[in-house]
């Protein structure tokens, strides 16, 4: 089965991000496809490059990045939700006269159309958090 995943909450708000992550891993293990993971609302907090929890805590940002690297999963962050909350890619930062890229490895920033397209193309849309 082909899944589209929407993550609506950040690593420290609710279990939504963790549950979504575990679902994606379980789905892949069972041989399903994950068409896209789309981060919306405060879910964009999962993509902050410089979120660095203490060593004895898990890092959701690193876990998502690793998942993208290992399984070539498309992780997409909503551009307007990200800009509202100060998360900019290098390109966006330069466009608005800022300098740094805050986006963690394995994520890309795009529009809401990417979520709608995933919801249409996949067999199921699963929404986590929020």
């Amino acid at each position: 089965m082909k899944f589209a995943i929407q993550i609506n909450s950040g690593p420290y708000q609710s279990e939504g991000s963790e549950s979504g992550y575990q679902f994606v891993r379980a789905a892949l293990r069972k041989g399903h496809d994950v068409y896209r993971v789309f981060f919306y609302y405060d879910g964009i907090d999962n993509a902050f490059r410089y979120a660095i929890p203490p060593d004895d805590e898990k890092s959701m940002v690193q876990r998502w990045s690793q998942l993208a690297r290992r399984h070539d999963i498309d992780l997409v962050v909503c551009v307007s939700a990200a800009q509202r909350r100060g998360l900019l890619s290098r390109k966006e930062a330069e466009r608005v006269g800022k300098v740094d890229s805050d986006l963690a490895d394995g994520f890309r920033i795009s529009g809401l159309g990417q979520l709608v397209e995933a919801a249409i193309e996949a067999d199921r849309l699963l929404v986590f958090g929020g």
């Binding site: 609302y41 709608v116 929020g130």
Partner: protein, 123 residues
């Protein structure tokens, strides 16, 4: 209007306006979905019924007029705004307290309503 690849989307909104940007972002997603020529319906549940309550003064707290978007939904081919009847009652509200005519759905029918849609999105 539903295009050839159309799916039936139900957006379930459960939170009051103005406390966060939740409603704004949910409506952005809803309007984008409508722009993809999908069939879009809205269900207001729990505190979501306050989204279209009459008498809001969002300018007093420098907030956007979220209710105005609901009044314009028909222009975006989103004809159906539904409200759970018990959510209204529990908050002392009546359909006449709302800014636009809605279809009220009793709680016992919400499950069946969701089952009739291809995609259910909470926001």
């Amino acid at each position: 209007m539903m295009g050839p690849t159309g799916k039936k989307f139900l957006f379930v909104m459960q939170r009051a306006p103005h406390g966060s940007c939740n409603a704004q972002e949910a409506l952005d997603l809803l309007l984008t979905t409508a722009a993809f020529e999908q069939a879009v319906s809205v269900l207001l549940l729990d505190d979501g019924v306050f989204l279209i309550k009459k008498g809001q003064q969002p300018d007093r707290i420098d907030s956007k007029d979220i209710a105005a978007v609901f009044l314009a939904l028909e222009l975006y081919d989103v004809p159906r705004v539904m409200v759970e009847w018990e959510s209204l009652q529990e908050r002392g509200l009546d359909p006449k307290d709302l800014l636009l005519p809605v279809e009220t759905i009793p709680r016992c029918r919400i499950g069946a309503l969701m089952a009739r849609h291809d995609r259910v999105v909470n926001g």
